[in-house]
Amino acid sequence: MRVPALIALLMGAFSTLGLAEATRQPLLTGESLPRLPQRLVEMGLQAVKAPDWLVSLGGFATAAATVVGVFLTAFALLSLIERKTLARAQNRLGPNRAGIFGILQPVADGIKMLTKEDIVPTKAEWFLHLLAPVLIVIPSILALGVIPYGREWLPVPLELGLVFFFAVGTMTEVAVFIAGWASGSKFPMLGAMRAISQMISYELPLIISALSVVMLSGTLSLSGIVAAQGGYHLGFIPAWNILTPWGFVAGVVFLIAANAESNRCPFDLPEGESEIVAGHMTEYSGFKYALFFMGEYLGLFAISGLGITLFLGGWQPPLPGLGFVPSWIWFFGKLAVVIFFFLWVRTTFPRIRIDQLMRFAWLCMIPIALLTVPVAALWQYSGKGALSWLLCSAILAIPFIIITVIFNRRLAPSIRQYHFAE
């Protein structure tokens, strides 16, 4: 009696295994959780015998909707976390009336923004005035689409992901200009001029510091760059780019430039509220104003995600034994750390002056960023050992010290002499 039952059980187990082997991909694992909506839509469309292009279109649309949904939620949360963090740094409470710990504050803000009156100044060009906030959100969302969030979660696997990221990023400048010009007012104009000059200046170090990563990874695809950072030195030090001499310098340059690109404090001159009201956003109200903020925060997520991909190993776990945790959790953990760093910088540093800003970009950031490119080549061809560590660090450190000394002695802002306001 027992034997047939045992055989039946074994056969059942084998057939289950065979089924799992045949389908290859279980529907729901931790790794593929973010892709569940996309696969459900694709399966549903296939079930109703939809044509192939419709299936892939539906899949892509759902993948895009997933990314947008995740990051809009993150944007809402961040707007609260930022206010709470700023409040903690300033020794006050921050929003604490709407829900526990002010958790409903983003909802309240959203309702406020939606129900506010939408004012278009009489001197504004209404179409361009409307176009600008839309144009400022689009590139941020497009840029979020090419970042590899996990081993399986890559919304748009693009061969030229990095080029795409920077190409759509340039649209922001056009949008800021349109916003500043179409408002037909002085402060937006000044803010747009500041914003564009700042973005052009800091785009250079941003792209140059990404260049060395591309050089050593040998690919422009972001998933390829993450894959190139897999593995561990000495069994436990992750092979991330930030942990090499050139990568550390390029990563710091990238971090500063990213901070400036997303117009955040201490580089928030374009919207410095104590100087030029709100810069290019001055003449906007209601939901258009909210769209500017949405674009700014989504852009912050995108550029932090790119920095993580380029320098912090993307979704690679920080220690060898941690591969069982879904990779996108590592990505979002790193994202949280980077974003918190940005918040910390914002609470710590005062806003700098426009001439200091430009001087810093052109005389300090760009030379150092340029230097990382040949040093990365040297690193590649000098064996990546202890000797090349010393050599590369020295080559990077000496010009840095020289630049810093010059910067401090000759170019540092002297105390202003006020002739009338004493």
């Binding site: 400048e173 056009v174 564009i196 202003r416 006020y418 002739h419």
Partner: protein, 171 residues
């Protein structure tokens, strides 16, 4: 073929608008739009790298520089007036004629049929890079020297004169 038929009239319209619009900022924005649509055209035929670089260089670089120059100099209506002078017309024609001639010459030679039909024109970036930096190095270097010269010239123009009187309010 269909994207070409949809996009080319739009590109033409935007380009014509860039020429006809009286306000310089409108013209600059329409020019940016036309250049962006040319980038989309490249993307639709599979030339992804060229399309993205077109977008980055022309929309993000050239158009922004034009717009920025407009912001700094703030040309008013006199710009439109300058554009209506006969000498401007002659200058414009002199600039357009060689380009138009080259285009017409290329079209008169005819397109290579087998390249236009069917064949996937997808070019891997690596092949493009090898072509640029192995076979065409002199051209790339020449362009680099040219751009450096332009940069130095721009810096010379932008440099403040040495003996400028001190402004009264701040340093």
């Amino acid at each position: 073929m269909i994207p070409l038929l949809i996009l080319s009239p739009l590109i033409l319209l935007a380009a014509l608008g860039a020429v006809w619009k009286a306000r310089p900022v409108h013209a600059a924005l329409l020019l940016a739009l036309a250049l962006a649509m040319v980038a989309v055209l490249y993307l639709t035929v599979g030339a992804e790298f060229i399309g993205l670089v077109q977008f980055m260089v022309y929309v993000g670089g050239v158009a922004i520089l034009i717009v920025f120059a407009l912001l700094i100099t703030r040309p008013g209506d006199e710009a439109a007036e300058v554009a209506r002078r006969p000498s401007s017309l002659v200058m414009g024609l002199a600039c357009v004629a060689p380009v138009l001639g080259m285009l017409l010459y290329a079209i008169s030679k005819g397109l290579p049929v087998e390249a236009a039909e069917g064949a996937n024109p997808k070019l891997p970036v690596e092949a493009l890079g090898r072509e640029l930096f192995e076979n065409s190095v002199p051209a790339v270097l020449a362009v680099g020297v040219l751009l450096t010269a332009v940069l130095i010239g721009a810096a010379l123009f932008a440099r403040e004169p040495a003996n400028k009187p001190e402004p009264p309010a701040s340093r």
